[in-house]
Symmetry: C2
Subunit: 139 residues, 2 copies
């Protein structure tokens, strides 16, 4: 029996519960990622559990590196009842490949940087091996 049943949330409370910033939530609404919530008599946004769930979905997908366009696609698939699991899988696989490519890039960068720094251990030589390395091998 933690939170009783939750009537509705202001934008700040939603932000706290999802880890998004308030401005980000309004931004998602503006670009159509999060639907416009109802407003109270004073014109302020009131969110329900549904919005919380959806925003958490968005945030998790973003954390995993999906672009907002990807997220838009995933949400579309989620919203079609009986969504095609293979479409979702295809998107996730494509993204996984992109992540792996980026990983390979970063590993190469790490190797070059690591070697540059290691060669420099010596200290204060007049012609720095790091600068030299940057001038050499334009890839």
């Amino acid at each position: 029996m933690a939170g009783a049943d939750m009537p509705d949330l202001g934008i700040g409370a939603l932000a706290r519960r999802t880890g998004c910033k308030v401005e980000t939530i309004r931004y998602y609404e503006r670009i159509g990622i999060l639907p416009e919530p109802p407003r109270n008599s004073g014109g302020q946004r009131r969110y329900h559990a549904w919005h919380l769930k959806r925003l958490n979905f968005v945030r998790r997908a973003r954390d995993l590196g999906f672009t907002l366009e990807d997220v838009r696609g995933l949400l579309r698939l989620v919203d079609e009842q009986g969504h095609g699991c293979d479409e979702v899988r295809t998107m996730a696989l494509g993204h996984l490949e992109a992540v792996r490519a980026r990983l390979a890039d970063l590993k190469a960068m790490e190797a070059v940087l690591g070697e540059m720094v290691a060669r420099c251990e010596g200290g204060n030589v007049p012609d720095c091996p790091i600068i030299d390395a940057l001038y050499r091998e334009p890839a």
Copy 2:
């Protein structure tokens, strides 16, 4: 005896030799990364070997993931004669750490994505395990 002595280069030739786009070169000039070259009688930019060397330096540093601000700092150090090798080393080390942190992030992403996709292998279940995974664990 490859290229004889090279008198000067138009912006397009410089672009071809460095792998930068023409617009990028003009952009670097605008923001002060690449100094303004002399112009010919018609007002077009003429580059020399020095610019080629400097732009290659910039490009290589960018390829290694240094920001333009980093590059600005590196160039400043390069231009001070008797530059401090330890300053350069500190920058490179800092950057190496950033790269390693990003690598760790990406590896975590890869693991989660990989597992999501693997659980989905089965095919066309009505409630997709990937979507489920995105709804679960808001991290």
